[in-house]
């Protein structure tokens, strides 16, 4: 589409946006009020959502990109990015897919039909995920569970969205969250009613064939009183995206006695050995333990992206509420990760656990950054943090930045940190017992990550282990 036509569209009344040719894949680069009107119109959003987006946009204009993380990358030109892309056209067959990606699918043991779905190939009727999804959603509906895209939720459940969106991550929380609030493409919405235990793992897997959520994903999960949900985000299959900048926002709300398990496997394109082409991943994830005895658990296995800036956090507001963070982050090639968590203790007897495992290989740089804050009201609160780093080779690095703030005398904070190397002696010991070198490395790494992997739902853990092996293949020696 020519610039002229675009100008015409975005300068005209935004409803005209619907006339855009359906074959068009992308909005023209650049970010302005008109871009946001364009996105909102494309998504058929109500006026109130557009107003919120515009508010976020104006706030974002006044904000500055954070520079405190231990990552370096060239300046991002926000006017050169395209902020809206239509769902991609399906490919004809797997033969059109990058062989490197196919090889990875094979190593990860992903069934053929699933490979097609992941790679964006048109799938056979047998694996029609629409029917899978329908059965699945029907079962959830019987229980009153809402599981849909955030765009649908904005249209169909405006009261819930208005009440909770921006309630945990305010639109002006930080530069990237504000950007996401203005231009978010799509994402997931989950609502679990009072007293309902969601009977299955909710996973974005069921939305594989749904439209490409794009680079500005937004997720909102609400667990009402006494409910339980386990949500799995991402998958081990390698993801490539021509959009280099990703800035997602995830908000979780756990009411009284509710428990949310949020697991992530992230394998975005990490770039080449010099980091070229890798995804920039600037994510804001935060959970609010609103009610007493509520619990939020973040578990993540991060192997992808060239730059990662991510701190899944918990605000422990309800008395006796619990926040947990279990993380494995691998950096190799020229990847840089600055990741960790924030545990904000407000309620009485709140507890938090942080287990962070960083693995660095080749030229990877891995930083743990964590804040534990005890408010005056958090009497009897407890935190335990453990940050371990494993180095493979001698060109990589590991860094730990723990921040502890306590205004409460009766609160206890315990922090442990270790850095170790996969030693020649450990490898040799296993090889002397007849175990091949790559299997020996895998065994040592799995052992190192055990405390985190054991927190993942079983099938997800199997995927994560296979992903660790694939990621570290050839990283040793």
């Amino acid at each position: 589409m020519g610039m002229e036509k675009v100008d015409k569209i975005i300068n005209s009344d935004y409803e005209l946006g619907f006339e855009v040719d359906i074959e068009e894949e992308k909005a023209p680069p650049g970010l302005s009020e008109d871009t946001i009107r364009f996105i909102s119109a494309k998504k058929n959003e109500p006026q109130w959502m557009l107003d919120l987006r515009l508010k976020a946009y104006h706030a974002w204009l006044k904000m500055e990109e954070p520079r405190w993380a231990k990552v370096t990358y060239p300046p991002i030109d926000y006017q050169s990015i395209s902020y809206w892309a239509a769902p991609k056209k399906a490919l004809e067959s797997l033969e059109e897919v990058d062989p490197e990606i196919l090889r990875a699918y094979e190593k990860l043991g992903i069934p053929l039909e699933e490979q097609k779905a992941l790679a964006g190939v048109a799938v056979d009727a047998v694996f029609d995920s629409v029917s899978v999804k329908t059965t699945f959603v029907e079962e959830l509906n019987k229980l009153g569970i809402i599981f849909c895209s955030i765009s649908e939720a904005i249209r169909d459940y405006p009261d819930l969205v208005k009440k909770y969106m921006f309630s945990v991550v305010p639109m002006t929380d930080n530069f990237f969250a504000a950007l996401n609030s203005a231009v978010f493409s799509d994402g997931t919405f989950v609502y679990i009613p009072k007293g309902v235990k969601c009977p299955m793992e909710l996973s974005t897997y069921f939305r594989i064939n749904a439209q490409n959520t794009g680079q500005f994903e937004r997720t909102l999960i609400i667990a009402d009183e006494g409910s339980y949900v386990s949500y799995n985000e991402g998958c081990s299959a390698p993801s490539r995206d021509e959009n280099q900048l990703h800035a997602a926002v995830v908000e979780l709300i756990a009411h009284k006695d509710a428990h949310i398990n949020y697991s992530t496997i992230q394998n975005w394109y990490p770039g080449d050995a010099e980091g070229r082409g890798g995804i920039y991943n600037f994510v804001t994830k935060r959970g609010l333990c609103e009610g007493e005895n509520s619990k939020i658990t973040w578990t993540q296995v991060e192997t992808g992206s060239v730059i990662t800036w991510k701190y899944p956090s918990c605000i422990l507001k309800g008395d006796n509420s619990v926040g947990e963070f279990y993380s494995v982050a691998i950096t190799r090639l020229a990847q840089q990760a600055d990741t960790g968590t924030k545990m904000i203790h407000i309620g009485k007897n709140t507890k938090s656990v942080i287990i962070s495992k960083g693995i660095s290989a080749q030229k990877g740089q891995n930083s743990y950054r964590g804040l534990v804050k005890m408010h005056e009201s958090a009497t009897g609160a407890k935190n335990y943090s453990e940050c371990d780093s494993l180095l493979i080779g001698d060109r990589c690095g590991a860094h730990t930045f723990p921040y502890l703030e306590s205004k409460c005398e009766s609160a206890q904070i315990e922090h442990e940190a270790t850095t170790s190397k996969i030693s020649e002696e450990q490898l040799f010991y296993l090889r002397q017992r007849g175990i091949k070198e790559e299997d020996a490395v895998s065994m040592i790494v799995h052992g190192f990550c055990k405390d985190v992997l054991s927190k993942l739902p079983m099938e997800f853990a199997v995927e994560a282990k296979a992903l660790l092996d694939l990621t570290l293949e050839g990283s040793v020696g």
């Binding site: 020649e424 450990q426 010991y429 296993l430 002397q432 052992g447 190192f448 055990k450 405390d451």
Partner: protein, 250 residues
Amino acid sequence: MSTMMKIKDLHAQIGDKQILKGIDLELLKGKVHAIMGPNGAGKSTLSKAIVGHPDVEVTKGTIVYKDKDITDWEPEERALEGIFMAFQHPVEIPGVNNAYFLRTALNAKRKHLGLPPLNAAEFLRLLKEKIKELGMREEMIHRSLNEGFSGGEKKLNEILQMEILEPDFVILDEIDSGLDIDALKKVSEAINKMRTPDRTFMIITHYRKILDYIEPDFVHVLKNGKVLKTGGIEIVDALEKEGYKIFEEV
């Protein structure tokens, strides 16, 4: 008597330091060979050269095992062919379950031999039988490999691995160091039970004590990177009295 391993004119270095300067040694099937010698004689380097430790670079000479020249083989290939070393200082590997590790090692070996792998239940039965024989505490097999084990427990765990893997050529690198007399007896008994006409042992030690429990067929004295003397147990008696200097001018 047939030869298990023949080491010929072996020269090896660690870093820039030449340590083995022409070792000639023949190790026989079904026999126990004790290797003695002062610190720095090259005992550890010799055992590392046999198992293919990456620190040791063989610059000259050959190691022939079961009629195959293994001088350039990968460590795991040697292990699968039946070479086993009980380490002097077994390394700790956090998070790696001891039983899981052992089953992986055993099944790697079974695969090499063309045998089907043992499943978890079959393996556990075998393992429990072995640890009972060794008088080990059962909970040790469920702990991380060597992590938090006492010195004695680590050595017993090496012996356990030997019993499970049933190697043909066993190097015991100062297995007696750090063991009290009861533990030494226990370890020696286990080793004696493993003595068969098909299995060769190479015991590296500084002390006579272990050789009272495990009687060697041959004693070799190493000094300055060479084999200085080969004989029977009588050599140990002479060493006890006079020290290593008695062999120097031979």
